[in-house]
Protein backbone atom coordinates (compact mmCIF):
# COMPACT_ATOMS: atom_id res chain seq x y z
CA UNK A 1 0.00 0.00 0.00
CA UNK A 2 2.02 2.92 -1.25
CA UNK A 3 -0.53 5.55 -2.11
CA UNK A 4 -0.79 8.79 -0.18
CA UNK A 5 -4.20 9.11 1.34
CA UNK A 6 -4.31 12.33 3.38
CA UNK A 7 -6.21 15.28 1.88
CA UNK A 8 -7.09 13.83 -1.49
CA UNK A 9 -10.49 12.36 -2.36
CA UNK A 10 -10.73 8.58 -2.26
CA UNK A 11 -12.37 8.77 -5.67
CA UNK A 12 -12.66 11.76 -7.94
CA UNK A 13 -14.49 11.51 -11.24
CA UNK A 14 -14.38 14.49 -13.58
CA UNK A 15 -16.37 14.73 -16.81
CA UNK A 16 -16.20 10.98 -17.35
CA UNK A 17 -17.62 9.80 -20.66
CA UNK A 18 -17.69 6.12 -21.57
CA UNK A 19 -18.65 4.67 -24.92
CA UNK A 20 -18.64 1.28 -26.62
CA UNK A 21 -18.48 0.32 -30.25
CA UNK A 22 -21.25 -2.25 -30.82
CA UNK A 23 -19.45 -3.47 -33.97
CA UNK A 24 -16.31 -2.68 -35.98
CA UNK A 25 -18.03 -0.31 -38.43
CA UNK A 26 -20.73 1.01 -36.12
CA UNK A 27 -20.62 4.36 -34.36
CA UNK A 28 -19.71 4.56 -30.67
CA UNK A 29 -22.66 4.25 -28.30
CA UNK A 30 -22.15 6.45 -25.26
CA UNK A 31 -23.44 5.05 -21.97
CA UNK A 32 -21.94 7.56 -19.51
CA UNK A 33 -22.01 11.29 -20.31
CA UNK A 34 -19.68 13.75 -18.58
CA UNK A 35 -20.12 12.30 -15.11
CA UNK A 36 -18.52 14.21 -12.22
CA UNK A 37 -18.51 13.46 -8.50
CA UNK A 38 -16.15 13.09 -5.60
CA UNK A 39 -15.97 10.61 -2.72
CA UNK A 40 -14.12 11.55 0.47
CA UNK A 41 -12.10 9.03 2.48
CA UNK A 42 -14.28 7.12 4.95
CA UNK A 43 -17.54 7.89 3.13
CA UNK A 44 -20.02 5.21 2.17
CA UNK A 45 -21.66 6.00 -1.15
CA UNK A 46 -24.61 4.28 -2.75
CA UNK A 47 -24.44 4.43 -6.54
CA UNK A 48 -28.02 3.98 -7.68
CA UNK A 49 -29.87 3.87 -10.92
CA UNK A 50 -32.15 1.65 -13.02
CA UNK A 51 -30.74 -1.10 -15.24
CA UNK A 52 -28.69 0.39 -18.07
CA UNK A 53 -28.13 3.68 -16.24
CA UNK A 54 -24.36 3.35 -16.64
CA UNK A 55 -23.40 2.27 -13.11
CA UNK A 56 -21.32 -0.76 -14.11
CA UNK A 57 -19.72 1.15 -17.01
CA UNK A 58 -18.66 3.92 -14.62
CA UNK A 59 -17.23 1.38 -12.22
CA UNK A 60 -15.42 -0.38 -15.08
CA UNK A 61 -13.86 2.93 -16.14
CA UNK A 62 -12.79 3.63 -12.56
CA UNK A 63 -11.19 0.17 -12.42
CA UNK A 64 -9.49 0.65 -15.80
CA UNK A 65 -11.36 -2.21 -17.49
CA UNK A 66 -12.58 0.20 -20.16
CA UNK A 67 -10.91 3.36 -21.39
CA UNK A 68 -12.87 6.56 -20.89
CA UNK A 69 -13.71 8.42 -24.11
CA UNK A 70 -13.31 11.71 -22.23
CA UNK A 71 -12.77 12.98 -18.72
CA UNK A 72 -10.81 11.33 -15.95
CA UNK A 73 -11.09 9.37 -12.74
CA UNK A 74 -8.60 9.35 -9.90
CA UNK A 75 -8.28 7.03 -6.93
CA UNK A 76 -6.49 8.70 -4.00
CA UNK A 77 -4.94 11.04 -6.56
CA UNK A 78 -3.72 8.30 -8.86
CA UNK A 79 -5.03 7.75 -12.38
CA UNK A 80 -7.83 5.19 -12.37
CA UNK A 81 -6.70 1.88 -13.73
CA UNK A 82 -3.05 2.47 -12.88
CA UNK A 83 -1.29 -0.16 -10.82
CA UNK A 84 -0.77 2.33 -7.95
CA UNK A 85 -4.49 3.14 -7.92
CA UNK A 86 -5.37 -0.54 -7.83
CA UNK A 87 -3.12 -1.13 -4.82
CA UNK A 88 -5.75 0.72 -2.77
CA UNK A 89 -8.88 -0.92 -4.16
CA UNK A 90 -10.87 -4.00 -3.22
CA UNK A 91 -13.32 -4.81 -6.00
CA UNK A 92 -16.34 -7.06 -6.25
CA UNK A 93 -17.66 -7.55 -9.80
CA UNK A 94 -21.33 -7.96 -10.57
CA UNK A 95 -21.82 -11.76 -10.50
CA UNK A 96 -18.61 -13.70 -11.01
CA UNK A 97 -18.32 -17.48 -11.13
CA UNK A 98 -15.08 -18.24 -9.39
CA UNK A 99 -12.78 -21.13 -10.34
CA UNK A 100 -14.97 -24.25 -10.02
CA UNK A 101 -12.08 -26.62 -9.35
CA UNK A 102 -10.33 -24.50 -6.74
CA UNK A 103 -11.20 -24.22 -3.06
CA UNK A 104 -11.96 -20.88 -1.35
CA UNK A 105 -8.54 -20.95 0.32
CA UNK A 106 -6.79 -21.54 -3.01
CA UNK A 107 -8.83 -18.77 -4.64
CA UNK A 108 -7.95 -16.30 -1.90
CA UNK A 109 -4.32 -17.42 -2.07
CA UNK A 110 -4.30 -16.55 -5.79
CA UNK A 111 -5.82 -13.09 -5.30
CA UNK A 112 -3.78 -12.37 -2.17
CA UNK A 113 -0.52 -13.31 -3.89
CA UNK A 114 -1.36 -10.99 -6.78
CA UNK A 115 -2.12 -8.29 -4.22
CA UNK A 116 1.36 -8.80 -2.76
CA UNK A 117 0.28 -10.04 0.69
CA UNK A 118 3.02 -12.11 2.39
CA UNK A 119 2.33 -15.85 2.51
CA UNK A 120 1.99 -16.25 6.31
CA UNK A 121 -0.25 -13.22 6.68
CA UNK A 122 -2.34 -14.30 3.69
CA UNK A 123 -3.29 -17.67 5.19
CA UNK A 124 -4.39 -16.17 8.50
CA UNK A 125 -6.27 -13.36 6.76
CA UNK A 126 -8.00 -15.75 4.36
CA UNK A 127 -9.23 -17.95 7.20
CA UNK A 128 -10.47 -14.90 9.09
CA UNK A 129 -12.28 -13.50 6.04
CA UNK A 130 -13.94 -16.80 5.19
CA UNK A 131 -15.20 -16.91 8.77
CA UNK A 132 -16.49 -13.34 8.49
CA UNK A 133 -18.43 -14.01 5.29
CA UNK A 134 -19.93 -17.20 6.70
CA UNK A 135 -17.89 -19.75 4.75
CA UNK A 136 -16.20 -21.29 7.78
CA UNK A 137 -15.93 -25.06 7.42
CA UNK A 138 -16.05 -24.78 3.61
CA UNK A 139 -12.41 -23.81 3.18
CA UNK A 140 -11.45 -27.04 1.43
CA UNK A 141 -14.58 -27.56 -0.68
CA UNK A 142 -14.25 -27.00 -4.42
CA UNK A 143 -16.25 -24.02 -5.64
CA UNK A 144 -18.29 -26.09 -8.11
CA UNK A 145 -20.25 -27.25 -5.06
CA UNK A 146 -21.03 -23.64 -4.05
CA UNK A 147 -24.34 -21.88 -4.64
CA UNK A 148 -24.50 -18.45 -6.29
CA UNK A 149 -24.90 -16.78 -2.90
CA UNK A 150 -21.86 -18.61 -1.51
CA UNK A 151 -19.84 -17.54 -4.55
CA UNK A 152 -20.88 -13.96 -3.86
CA UNK A 153 -19.71 -14.27 -0.24
CA UNK A 154 -16.37 -15.52 -1.50
CA UNK A 155 -16.33 -12.54 -3.86
CA UNK A 156 -16.72 -10.22 -0.89
CA UNK A 157 -13.93 -12.02 0.94
CA UNK A 158 -11.57 -11.55 -2.02
CA UNK A 159 -12.53 -7.87 -2.22
CA UNK A 160 -11.66 -7.39 1.46
CA UNK A 161 -8.25 -9.11 1.15
CA UNK A 162 -5.39 -6.83 2.12
CA UNK A 163 -7.71 -4.34 3.90
CA UNK A 164 -8.19 -2.00 0.92
CA UNK A 165 -8.74 1.70 1.57
CA UNK A 166 -11.45 1.89 -1.09
CA UNK A 167 -14.00 -0.86 -1.56
CA UNK A 168 -15.88 -0.85 -4.86
CA UNK A 169 -18.78 -3.28 -4.91
CA UNK A 170 -20.98 -3.85 -7.94
CA UNK A 171 -24.35 -5.32 -6.92
CA UNK A 172 -23.04 -6.50 -3.59
CA UNK A 173 -25.88 -8.76 -2.45
CA UNK A 174 -26.80 -10.14 -5.86
CA UNK A 175 -27.93 -13.76 -5.48
CA UNK A 176 -27.60 -13.77 -1.69
CA UNK A 177 -30.53 -15.01 0.44
CA UNK A 178 -32.16 -12.70 3.06
CA UNK A 179 -30.15 -14.16 5.95
CA UNK A 180 -26.96 -13.82 3.95
CA UNK A 181 -27.91 -10.26 3.01
CA UNK A 182 -28.32 -9.28 6.65
CA UNK A 183 -25.01 -10.97 7.43
CA UNK A 184 -23.24 -9.06 4.64
CA UNK A 185 -24.85 -5.80 5.68
CA UNK A 186 -23.47 -6.29 9.19
CA UNK A 187 -20.08 -7.12 7.72
CA UNK A 188 -20.07 -3.96 5.60
CA UNK A 189 -21.13 -2.02 8.69
CA UNK A 190 -18.03 -3.34 10.48
CA UNK A 191 -15.86 -2.44 7.48
CA UNK A 192 -17.35 1.07 7.50
CA UNK A 193 -16.33 1.49 11.15
CA UNK A 194 -12.68 0.87 10.20
CA UNK A 195 -12.76 4.02 8.06
CA UNK A 196 -12.74 2.20 4.74
CA UNK A 197 -14.35 4.15 1.90
CA UNK A 198 -17.14 2.11 0.35
CA UNK A 199 -18.60 2.83 -3.07
CA UNK A 200 -21.30 0.42 -4.08
CA UNK A 201 -24.06 -0.05 -6.57
CA UNK A 202 -27.15 -1.93 -5.50
CA UNK A 203 -30.80 -2.41 -6.26
CA UNK A 204 -31.40 -3.38 -2.62
CA UNK A 205 -32.47 -0.05 -1.15
CA UNK A 206 -32.72 -1.43 2.39
CA UNK A 207 -28.99 -1.91 2.61
CA UNK A 208 -28.34 1.43 0.92
CA UNK A 209 -30.58 3.14 3.51
CA UNK A 210 -28.80 1.46 6.40
CA UNK A 211 -25.21 1.81 5.23
CA UNK A 212 -24.80 4.91 3.09
CA UNK A 213 -23.80 8.43 4.02
CA UNK A 214 -24.72 9.72 0.58
CA UNK A 215 -26.39 8.47 -2.60
CA UNK A 216 -25.65 9.29 -6.22
CA UNK A 217 -28.51 8.76 -8.64
CA UNK A 218 -27.70 7.95 -12.22
CA UNK A 219 -30.12 7.99 -15.14
CA UNK A 220 -29.27 7.55 -18.82
CA UNK A 221 -25.56 7.82 -18.05
CA UNK A 222 -25.96 11.19 -16.29
CA UNK A 223 -25.83 12.11 -12.61
CA UNK A 224 -29.29 13.45 -11.86
CA UNK A 225 -29.21 13.74 -8.07
CA UNK A 226 -26.71 13.62 -5.27
CA UNK A 227 -28.14 13.51 -1.77
CA UNK A 228 -26.94 13.05 1.77
CA UNK A 229 -28.80 10.28 3.57
CA UNK A 230 -30.79 12.02 6.28
CA UNK A 231 -33.10 10.51 8.88
CA UNK A 232 -36.09 11.14 6.64
CA UNK A 233 -34.61 9.05 3.83
CA UNK A 234 -33.58 6.30 6.25
CA UNK A 235 -37.06 6.02 7.77
CA UNK A 236 -39.12 2.91 7.05
CA UNK A 237 -35.87 0.99 6.31
CA UNK A 238 -35.61 1.65 2.62
CA UNK A 239 -39.20 2.53 1.83
CA UNK A 240 -38.62 6.32 2.01
CA UNK A 241 -35.52 5.92 -0.10
CA UNK A 242 -37.46 3.71 -2.50
CA UNK A 243 -40.14 6.41 -2.87
CA UNK A 244 -37.46 9.04 -3.42
CA UNK A 245 -35.64 6.81 -5.93
CA UNK A 246 -38.75 5.94 -7.94
CA UNK A 247 -40.01 9.54 -8.01
CA UNK A 248 -36.64 10.93 -9.09
CA UNK A 249 -36.26 8.32 -11.83
CA UNK A 250 -39.78 8.92 -13.14
CA UNK A 251 -39.14 12.66 -13.27
CA UNK A 252 -35.85 12.05 -15.10
CA UNK A 253 -37.60 9.80 -17.63
CA UNK A 254 -40.27 12.44 -18.22
CA UNK A 255 -37.64 15.19 -18.63
CA UNK A 256 -35.76 13.04 -21.12
CA UNK A 257 -38.91 12.31 -23.09
CA UNK A 258 -39.81 16.02 -23.17
Amino acid sequence: MTAQVGGVPALHVDGLTVGYKPGPLQPTKYVVHGLSFSVQPGEVIGFLGPNGAGKSSTIKAVMGFVTASAGSAKVFGHDAGSITARENIGYLPEVALYYPFLTPMETLRLYGTLQGIPKEKLRAESLELLKRVGLEGREKHQLRTFSKGMQQRLGIAQALLGSPKLLILDEVTSGVDPIGRRHLRELLGEVKKTGTTIFFSSHELDEVAQLCDRVLLLHGGRLIEERIMDEKLRSGIGSALEDYFVTTMEQATLRKAA
Partner: protein, 260 residues
Protein backbone atom coordinates in the same frame (compact mmCIF):
# COMPACT_ATOMS: atom_id res chain seq x y z
CA UNK B 1 10.70 -6.24 -9.03
CA UNK B 2 11.80 -9.45 -10.78
CA UNK B 3 10.79 -11.53 -7.76
CA UNK B 4 7.38 -9.79 -7.68
CA UNK B 5 6.83 -10.56 -11.38
CA UNK B 6 7.88 -14.19 -10.90
CA UNK B 7 5.49 -14.48 -7.95
CA UNK B 8 2.61 -13.07 -10.02
CA UNK B 9 3.29 -15.34 -13.00
CA UNK B 10 3.80 -18.31 -10.69
CA UNK B 11 0.47 -17.71 -8.91
CA UNK B 12 -1.45 -17.33 -12.16
CA UNK B 13 0.12 -20.33 -13.86
CA UNK B 14 -0.13 -22.43 -10.68
CA UNK B 15 -3.87 -21.82 -10.41
CA UNK B 16 -4.36 -22.75 -14.09
CA UNK B 17 -2.36 -25.95 -13.71
CA UNK B 18 -4.16 -26.99 -10.54
CA UNK B 19 -7.56 -26.38 -12.09
CA UNK B 20 -6.76 -28.31 -15.27
CA UNK B 21 -5.35 -31.25 -13.35
CA UNK B 22 -8.47 -31.41 -11.18
CA UNK B 23 -10.60 -31.12 -14.30
CA UNK B 24 -8.86 -34.33 -15.46
CA UNK B 25 -8.37 -33.09 -19.05
CA UNK B 26 -4.89 -34.56 -19.19
CA UNK B 27 -5.94 -38.02 -18.09
CA UNK B 28 -8.38 -38.45 -20.96
CA UNK B 29 -5.55 -37.72 -23.40
CA UNK B 30 -3.20 -40.08 -21.54
CA UNK B 31 -5.71 -42.92 -21.78
CA UNK B 32 -6.21 -42.13 -25.46
CA UNK B 33 -2.46 -42.22 -26.11
CA UNK B 34 -2.11 -45.59 -24.33
CA UNK B 35 -4.93 -47.00 -26.44
CA UNK B 36 -3.57 -45.60 -29.72
CA UNK B 37 0.01 -46.67 -29.15
CA UNK B 38 -1.20 -50.06 -27.83
CA UNK B 39 -3.36 -50.55 -30.93
CA UNK B 40 -0.40 -49.72 -33.19
CA UNK B 41 1.69 -52.25 -31.25
CA UNK B 42 -0.94 -54.96 -31.68
CA UNK B 43 -1.20 -54.20 -35.40
CA UNK B 44 2.58 -54.49 -35.68
CA UNK B 45 2.52 -57.89 -34.02
CA UNK B 46 0.20 -59.18 -36.74
CA UNK B 47 2.93 -59.06 -39.38
CA UNK B 48 3.40 -55.56 -40.72
CA UNK B 49 6.63 -55.29 -42.71
CA UNK B 50 9.25 -52.96 -41.22
CA UNK B 51 7.82 -53.38 -37.72
CA UNK B 52 10.40 -51.20 -36.01
CA UNK B 53 9.89 -48.13 -38.23
CA UNK B 54 6.14 -48.58 -38.20
CA UNK B 55 5.90 -48.76 -34.42
CA UNK B 56 8.21 -45.81 -33.85
CA UNK B 57 6.40 -43.76 -36.45
CA UNK B 58 2.97 -44.61 -35.02
CA UNK B 59 4.03 -43.87 -31.43
CA UNK B 60 5.63 -40.53 -32.33
CA UNK B 61 2.65 -39.51 -34.48
CA UNK B 62 0.42 -40.05 -31.43
CA UNK B 63 2.82 -37.98 -29.28
CA UNK B 64 2.95 -35.17 -31.88
CA UNK B 65 -0.77 -35.10 -32.48
CA UNK B 66 -2.01 -35.30 -28.91
CA UNK B 67 0.56 -32.89 -27.50
CA UNK B 68 -0.35 -30.20 -30.06
CA UNK B 69 -4.11 -30.72 -29.71
CA UNK B 70 -3.86 -30.55 -25.92
CA UNK B 71 -1.63 -27.47 -26.01
CA UNK B 72 -4.06 -25.65 -28.31
CA UNK B 73 -7.13 -26.60 -26.27
CA UNK B 74 -5.52 -25.76 -22.92
CA UNK B 75 -4.28 -22.41 -24.16
CA UNK B 76 -7.27 -21.26 -26.20
CA UNK B 77 -9.58 -21.21 -23.20
CA UNK B 78 -7.27 -19.47 -20.72
CA UNK B 79 -8.20 -15.81 -21.34
CA UNK B 80 -11.72 -16.24 -22.83
CA UNK B 81 -12.75 -18.40 -19.87
CA UNK B 82 -11.58 -15.72 -17.43
CA UNK B 83 -13.65 -13.17 -19.34
CA UNK B 84 -16.79 -15.32 -19.63
CA UNK B 85 -16.69 -16.30 -15.93
CA UNK B 86 -15.97 -12.62 -15.12
CA UNK B 87 -13.03 -13.68 -12.94
CA UNK B 88 -10.87 -11.45 -15.12
CA UNK B 89 -12.22 -8.48 -13.13
CA UNK B 90 -11.01 -9.44 -9.65
CA UNK B 91 -7.72 -10.50 -11.23
CA UNK B 92 -7.17 -7.18 -12.99
CA UNK B 93 -8.42 -5.29 -9.93
CA UNK B 94 -5.11 -6.37 -8.34
CA UNK B 95 -1.95 -4.35 -8.94
CA UNK B 96 -0.88 -6.40 -11.95
CA UNK B 97 -0.67 -5.51 -15.64
CA UNK B 98 -2.67 -7.15 -18.39
CA UNK B 99 0.61 -8.51 -19.78
CA UNK B 100 1.21 -10.22 -16.41
CA UNK B 101 -2.15 -11.93 -16.72
CA UNK B 102 -1.53 -13.00 -20.32
CA UNK B 103 1.99 -14.22 -19.60
CA UNK B 104 0.97 -16.04 -16.40
CA UNK B 105 -1.79 -17.80 -18.29
CA UNK B 106 0.63 -18.63 -21.13
CA UNK B 107 3.07 -20.15 -18.64
CA UNK B 108 0.32 -22.24 -17.07
CA UNK B 109 -0.85 -23.57 -20.42
CA UNK B 110 2.74 -24.20 -21.55
CA UNK B 111 3.61 -26.06 -18.34
CA UNK B 112 0.52 -28.24 -18.77
CA UNK B 113 1.40 -28.88 -22.40
CA UNK B 114 4.92 -29.89 -21.39
CA UNK B 115 3.50 -32.20 -18.74
CA UNK B 116 1.28 -33.75 -21.42
CA UNK B 117 4.23 -34.11 -23.79
CA UNK B 118 6.33 -35.81 -21.11
CA UNK B 119 3.52 -38.24 -20.26
CA UNK B 120 2.91 -39.11 -23.92
CA UNK B 121 6.65 -39.47 -24.55
CA UNK B 122 6.96 -41.71 -21.51
CA UNK B 123 4.12 -43.89 -22.76
CA UNK B 124 5.68 -44.05 -26.25
CA UNK B 125 9.12 -44.75 -24.81
CA UNK B 126 7.70 -47.47 -22.53
CA UNK B 127 5.72 -49.06 -25.35
CA UNK B 128 8.73 -49.13 -27.68
CA UNK B 129 10.87 -50.64 -24.91
CA UNK B 130 8.10 -53.21 -24.35
CA UNK B 131 8.42 -54.22 -27.98
CA UNK B 132 12.21 -54.35 -27.58
CA UNK B 133 12.93 -51.23 -29.65
CA UNK B 134 15.56 -48.62 -28.83
CA UNK B 135 15.12 -44.94 -29.76
CA UNK B 136 18.66 -43.60 -29.70
CA UNK B 137 20.02 -40.22 -28.68
CA UNK B 138 18.02 -38.40 -31.35
CA UNK B 139 14.87 -39.15 -29.35
CA UNK B 140 15.99 -36.62 -26.72
CA UNK B 141 16.65 -34.02 -29.43
CA UNK B 142 13.20 -34.79 -30.79
CA UNK B 143 11.68 -34.26 -27.35
CA UNK B 144 13.53 -30.97 -26.81
CA UNK B 145 12.36 -29.60 -30.15
CA UNK B 146 8.79 -30.74 -29.45
CA UNK B 147 8.96 -28.89 -26.14
CA UNK B 148 10.13 -25.76 -27.97
CA UNK B 149 7.45 -25.93 -30.62
CA UNK B 150 4.75 -26.41 -27.98
CA UNK B 151 5.87 -23.04 -26.60
CA UNK B 152 5.26 -21.53 -30.03
CA UNK B 153 1.90 -23.31 -30.32
CA UNK B 154 0.83 -21.93 -26.91
CA UNK B 155 2.03 -18.41 -27.78
CA UNK B 156 0.23 -18.42 -31.16
CA UNK B 157 -2.97 -19.74 -29.57
CA UNK B 158 -3.04 -17.33 -26.63
CA UNK B 159 -2.20 -14.47 -29.02
CA UNK B 160 -5.08 -15.42 -31.30
CA UNK B 161 -7.47 -16.04 -28.39
CA UNK B 162 -7.59 -12.33 -27.53
CA UNK B 163 -8.53 -11.44 -31.12
CA UNK B 164 -11.23 -14.04 -31.73
CA UNK B 165 -13.46 -16.66 -30.14
CA UNK B 166 -11.73 -19.68 -28.54
CA UNK B 167 -13.20 -21.93 -31.25
CA UNK B 168 -11.70 -19.80 -34.02
CA UNK B 169 -8.35 -19.64 -32.20
CA UNK B 170 -8.35 -23.44 -31.85
CA UNK B 171 -9.15 -23.95 -35.54
CA UNK B 172 -6.50 -21.54 -36.82
CA UNK B 173 -3.81 -22.76 -34.41
CA UNK B 174 -4.47 -26.39 -35.30
CA UNK B 175 -4.46 -25.57 -39.01
CA UNK B 176 -1.14 -23.74 -38.64
CA UNK B 177 0.36 -26.64 -36.72
CA UNK B 178 -1.04 -29.44 -38.84
CA UNK B 179 -0.60 -28.07 -42.36
CA UNK B 180 2.75 -26.43 -41.74
CA UNK B 181 4.56 -28.91 -44.01
CA UNK B 182 2.07 -28.45 -46.85
CA UNK B 183 2.23 -24.68 -46.46
CA UNK B 184 6.06 -24.59 -46.63
CA UNK B 185 6.09 -26.81 -49.73
CA UNK B 186 3.42 -24.65 -51.38
CA UNK B 187 5.34 -21.45 -50.63
CA UNK B 188 8.53 -22.89 -52.12
CA UNK B 189 6.72 -24.09 -55.24
CA UNK B 190 4.95 -20.76 -55.72
CA UNK B 191 8.09 -18.75 -55.08
CA UNK B 192 9.88 -20.36 -58.02
CA UNK B 193 7.32 -18.94 -60.47
CA UNK B 194 6.64 -15.61 -58.76
CA UNK B 195 7.53 -12.05 -59.71
CA UNK B 196 9.58 -9.83 -57.40
CA UNK B 197 6.56 -8.54 -55.41
CA UNK B 198 5.12 -12.04 -55.11
CA UNK B 199 8.45 -13.40 -53.90
CA UNK B 200 8.60 -10.66 -51.27
CA UNK B 201 5.08 -11.46 -50.08
CA UNK B 202 5.77 -15.19 -49.93
CA UNK B 203 9.04 -14.63 -48.07
CA UNK B 204 7.24 -12.35 -45.61
CA UNK B 205 4.48 -14.88 -45.03
CA UNK B 206 6.98 -17.71 -44.64
CA UNK B 207 8.91 -15.88 -41.92
CA UNK B 208 5.89 -14.32 -40.20
CA UNK B 209 4.18 -17.64 -39.63
CA UNK B 210 6.00 -20.21 -37.50
CA UNK B 211 7.22 -23.20 -39.51
CA UNK B 212 6.27 -26.02 -37.16
CA UNK B 213 7.63 -28.73 -39.47
CA UNK B 214 11.20 -27.48 -38.92
CA UNK B 215 10.95 -28.87 -35.38
CA UNK B 216 9.71 -32.32 -36.32
CA UNK B 217 12.39 -34.98 -35.97
CA UNK B 218 9.98 -37.90 -35.72
CA UNK B 219 10.95 -39.36 -39.14
CA UNK B 220 14.63 -39.23 -38.15
CA UNK B 221 13.81 -41.08 -34.93
CA UNK B 222 11.68 -43.65 -36.77
CA UNK B 223 14.41 -44.38 -39.30
CA UNK B 224 17.13 -44.40 -36.64
CA UNK B 225 19.13 -41.51 -38.12
CA UNK B 226 21.89 -39.68 -36.31
CA UNK B 227 21.39 -36.54 -34.23
CA UNK B 228 21.26 -33.11 -35.84
CA UNK B 229 24.11 -30.61 -35.19
CA UNK B 230 23.95 -28.67 -31.91
CA UNK B 231 24.21 -25.39 -33.81
CA UNK B 232 20.97 -26.24 -35.66
CA UNK B 233 19.27 -26.97 -32.35
CA UNK B 234 20.47 -23.58 -31.07
CA UNK B 235 19.23 -21.81 -34.19
CA UNK B 236 15.84 -23.48 -33.81
CA UNK B 237 15.76 -22.46 -30.13
CA UNK B 238 16.33 -18.81 -31.08
CA UNK B 239 13.72 -19.11 -33.86
CA UNK B 240 11.17 -20.53 -31.41
CA UNK B 241 11.90 -17.91 -28.74
CA UNK B 242 11.53 -15.10 -31.27
CA UNK B 243 8.16 -16.44 -32.38
CA UNK B 244 7.01 -16.90 -28.78
CA UNK B 245 8.00 -13.31 -27.96
CA UNK B 246 6.37 -11.93 -31.13
CA UNK B 247 3.05 -13.73 -30.64
CA UNK B 248 2.90 -12.84 -26.96
CA UNK B 249 3.60 -9.19 -27.74
CA UNK B 250 0.92 -9.22 -30.42
CA UNK B 251 -1.60 -10.70 -27.97
CA UNK B 252 -0.52 -8.33 -25.20
CA UNK B 253 -0.91 -5.25 -27.42
CA UNK B 254 -4.45 -6.25 -28.31
CA UNK B 255 -5.36 -7.32 -24.75
CA UNK B 256 -4.04 -4.04 -23.33
CA UNK B 257 -6.52 -2.02 -25.43
CA UNK B 258 -9.42 -4.44 -25.13
CA UNK B 259 -12.54 -3.23 -23.32
CA UNK B 260 -13.53 -5.85 -20.76
Amino acid sequence: MVLRKLTIWGALSGASILESIRRKDLWVAVILSVLMIGAAGMLGRFGVKGLETFLKSAALTVVNLLSVVLAVIFTARQIPEEVSRRTVYPLLARPISRFDLLFGKFLGAYALSLLGLLLFALIAFGALKWFGLGVGTIFWQYLFLRALILGVVCAVTIGLSVFMTPQAAITISLLLAMVSQTFSSAVMLLEADSQQAGKLFLHGTYFALPQFNLFDLSSRVSFGWTTIPTVTVLQLTVYALLHIAAWLMLGALRFKRQAL
